[in-house]
Symmetry: C2
Subunit: 229 residues, 2 copies
Amino acid sequence: MPHTYDYPRAALTVDCVVFGLDEDDLKVLLIQRGQEPFAGRWALPGGFVHVDETIDQAARRELQEETGLSKVYLEQLYTVGDLGRDPRERVVTVAYYALVRLGDHRVQAATDARNAAWFAVDDPPRLAFDHDAILALALTRLQGKVRYQPLGFELLPPKFSLTRLQRMYEIILERPLDKRNFRKKVLSLGILEELDEVEQDVAHRAARLYRFDERSYRQLVKDGFNFEL
Amino acid sequence: MPHTYDYPRAALTVDCVVFGLDEDDLKVLLIQRGQEPFAGRWALPGGFVHVDETIDQAARRELQEETGLSKVYLEQLYTVGDLGRDPRERVVTVAYYALVRLGDHRVQAATDARNAAWFAVDDPPRLAFDHDAILALALTRLQGKVRYQPLGFELLPPKFSLTRLQRMYEIILERPLDKRNFRKKVLSLGILEELDEVEQDVAHRAARLYRFDERSYRQLVKDGFNFEL
């Protein structure tokens, strides 16, 4: 197809920051690059946008091709277009981010990625391109969201203890929270449903389990609130 | 320069949603297109990103070229890449938005824009491309920000009455607010400085003037809050 705008043009890519959570860490999904530039280096999953797909489609396709992950809700994060961020040529990238339950997603490398794996966000390998900066941006966005949106539906297992929920906030915010204060605030949001079940197979006294009430949770995402922790 | 990634590629543009405020309305800055497609139709100022400039630079350059506006703080809004949004070819656009004091900026059309002018946001002309949708997105973002950030520094004159400030919120939120409640909340934010001056040349009883304390205002932008109105 001839280009109407007949000048040199930037290439367009997408990159995906996928966060997952385990007991101890916030994790990010990375792939090991199979080809130059940065062959062997870890990077965010992503790649070139085809001319006949939307950028959202490109993000979903690249994530699936490179890591095997599908059915992930990717939210647009930011578009980064600094000069010289790719040694090959001018490349502008639309960054996306997503939260997933670690247990739900078996990761497998595919296509031009050698390898795909989860890394702790607070101790990632040195990344290709400007992916360190994009990861930092996604983390800041996530930490910012804690302030005015409920969080956890996409990260926690369907049933969880309040200790687990608090631990999630502590991991994301990177600081300890006061237990009594946390419980009071989180219960007052009206998005938690107390279950008639307790934890199984734990060494300590089994704690009560909760789950999110999806309807009030979604409503609160929409309405926002102020969650001073 | 040869393309490393040698496939048809999307063209990349920027578009700017610039909001201004007068006594009665929230306004948006539009240009009238001088060429096809959509010749004669009003549109957001914007244009193609050059291969040797950042996308931020492109947004500032296009805004200045097409409307004469410079020194505007443009914030990235969203990147829109639907297929078929431009009849010429595949075009992905990075949308920016900005708030400006209407009085500070004399608007003048230039380059390929026939004309540039301010339009009331609630009654804009039919726009070229998908610019209606981009304008709606910017308005939603602005209305969302009211909830957790102070607003007005970029929109109001340096000195203003509380009535003027309330009117700004009412215009943006598109609903009336309770005067007593509004004053109590806005004063409690600690970002307003009461001046030893009153309004000049007004028909009604002259009201006390205020200005923003820039330092605490900026701090609150950074920290966020919950402004239930």
